[in-house]
Symmetry: C2
Subunit: 344 residues, 2 copies
DNA sequence: TTTTTTACCGAAAACGTTTTCGAAAACACC
DNA sequence: GGTGTTTTCGAAAACGTTTTCGGTAAAAAA
């Protein structure tokens, strides 16, 4: 019924708690005989150290926190998987909270994790987070924190990201390479940094290739639960607005798939009339028809990398070393499929 | 730097820790004046109670554990979302672990959560779990535990499920209602209970309608990461094996979508030649062409329900009441779309 | 004034560990 | 048998909180 404690073992063996504790942790100053006795009784009684007491003493919880905008999302759920896998390997548990893309939730959850005294925090920002005080508070409290994917550039901590700008540049350049001249862009909402960066990459590619930038070719979608419909709508609107577009770089695969379905419905040939490049390499992209050329965004790898960096900083802090913040940029890759013409 | 404690506040105010503690918790035996003083200093010092110490004293962690076969999965990530939302509302944090459909991981993680002394556990079983000792151990330790979706019927605890058998029956009956006579079934792997139940529901519907059961019409797929391809392969094989099949009930939407893509490719008209019903109501089902008739499996609702039941049992345990185990069956619903003929 | 009540405060134990430090016991050596 | 060394053990403090219980002072009643 009641969980068994060191005291229980000590009583049964007629020795002190001290010796029991040391026996279980293989201290050199306890005899082999008593060690064996203690360990045996501990397993038969199924002794489990009380985590609270251990934490209180040692001041570490072997627990880390994760704050993420959405869970039901291909990329983020892969990140979660990567983090949990790596954390488990190091004996850490992960507490997950979801901000639902809302700043006030994000702040509240950060507070919860600090109260819980997790050993470190991993966070990807909500779309509407513009004030970073809550993040700087964490850093001021000397709590290791890693930001990933959706980051705040001005906050001074380690970050794991992809080079959104370069990836978008590559995507756009690919469209140009296969001969596209009027290239539209379906971008994400205005605030988040990666949506901005992808737009900038798109524009830079145009400029580097002496293709004039035309703001009327840029369409915005919020990329929430209705991404697919947004893709359809934007595609429909695009056809009404312009008749000379021959390529589109789209912020997210799901939006791209919506666009493709609309073009299919309207009899627009892909890639002959319009070539399309998506972003994220969602597994459906290889499955739909035509399959979608896209940028591979390595969620699992990012998760692993995030926890590894956090772990490194936790260790550094424990050893009173200077923690050195890293900016880790994971490579992305253009995956060419049937939604873009083959390079000549 | 160092987190502020009750002692710090007491020292600065020249009073005792006892009074500080009581003031913060609004005990009646501390004057309004000191209460105000304490609370003010607490907020200016940004005092946060040390969770370890509180837990050690009160013996509850305000933390619950979740063990789930896979995270990157539409249904399960919705369950997670539901659980976290409900837990947060009650002030609980959720530790998530992933068994990767493996029994040994499941067992290890259960152990981790017990060591961590979470207040309760929610679990959906791995496919290859056939021994239930680890689960009974949890119950024997009087730790509240809820099983959901993939459950062990013989383990004595609360469960939240859908009626897989009835849902499968409804799906098959729908095919019969629209005139199908040779109905195939793509089932999941042999072990998990819900895969079995869906098969049984399929068979019962046939029997109740005097349609002979033909084992050669049942195809198995493991429903892992390659579900889509399995759907394609099964569809291809089915066309080779039989030329008279006019309806298929498929264990999972993703497999069904694979099958549809294969039928599309081979020029089989859906629903005119073959009607198809899927399972789970993945959001892509409404998006593909033809859209997929399916059974709605309410993941978010299940998550909420799971935590609510867990919370109830935690409260009952705390009040030394008898915890009464519930078997909660959530309703499913057939969603008719374009992959099945309209009812005449 | 004395007694009783009320209001307010604090000492101390407890939760279960970890770790320091000193002491006892056992052994070795001369 | 004395001295020094090694081995083995345990007392005690500490981590930060909660809660019981008793005590003092002021207010109310006598």
């Amino acid at each position: 019924m009641k969980p068994v404690t060191l005291q229980d073992i000590a009583d049964q063996l007629g020795i002190s708690v001290t010796t029991v504790s040391k026996a279980l942790k293989d201290y050199p100053d306890v005899s082999a005989k008593t060690k064996a006795l203690v360990k045996e009784l501990a397993t038969t009684l199924n002794y489990k150290p009380n985590a609270f007491a251990v934490n209180l003493r040692t001041k570490e919880s072997k627990t880390v926190g994760l704050i993420i905008p959405v869970i039901v999302h291909h990329f983020f759920s892969n990140v979660i998987k990567g983090i949990i896998a790596e954390a488990e390997a190091k004996g850490y548990l992960v507490i997950i909270l979801q901000s639902n893309e809302r700043y006030d939730m994000e702040k509240k959850h950060l507070d919860l994790l600090m109260n819980q005294r997790v050993d470190g925090i991993m966070i990807s920002l909500a779309n509407d987070t513009v004030d970073f005080k809550h993040l700087n508070d964490v850093i001021a409290a000397d709590k290791p924190m890693i930001m990933f994917d959706k980051i705040a550039k001005t906050v001074n901590c380690s970050k794991v990201i992809i080079d959104d700008r370069q990836a978008a540049y590559d995507a756009t350049q690919h469209l140009i390479d296969i001969g596209c001249q009027r290239i539209a862009h379906f971008r994400g909402s205005l605030l988040p940094q990666n949506s901005i960066d992808r737009f900038l990459g798109y524009r830079k590619a145009l400029r580097d290739n002496d293709i004039p930038y035309d703001a009327s070719l840029v369409y915005i979608c919020e990329c929430d639960d209705l991404s697919f419909e947004e893709g359809q709508n934007n595609a429909r609107q695009l056809l009404l607005d312009h008749n000379d577009v021959d390529g589109i770089f789209i912020n997210t695969d799901l939006v791209a798939i919506g666009a493709i379905s609309e073009f299919n419905k309207q009899g627009i040939k892909i890639p002959e009339q319009i070539s399309i490049v998506g972003f994220s390499n969602w597994f459906m992209s290889s499955i739909i028809s035509p399959s979608l050329t896209t940028i591979d965004q390595p969620g699992l790898e990012m998760g692993r990398s995030v926890f590894k960096q956090l772990y490194k900083e936790i260790q550094q802090l424990k050893r009173d070393e200077k923690v050195d913040y890293q900016q880790i940029v994971l490579p992305t890759q253009l995956i060419q499929r049937d939604s873009t013409l083959k390079v000549k």
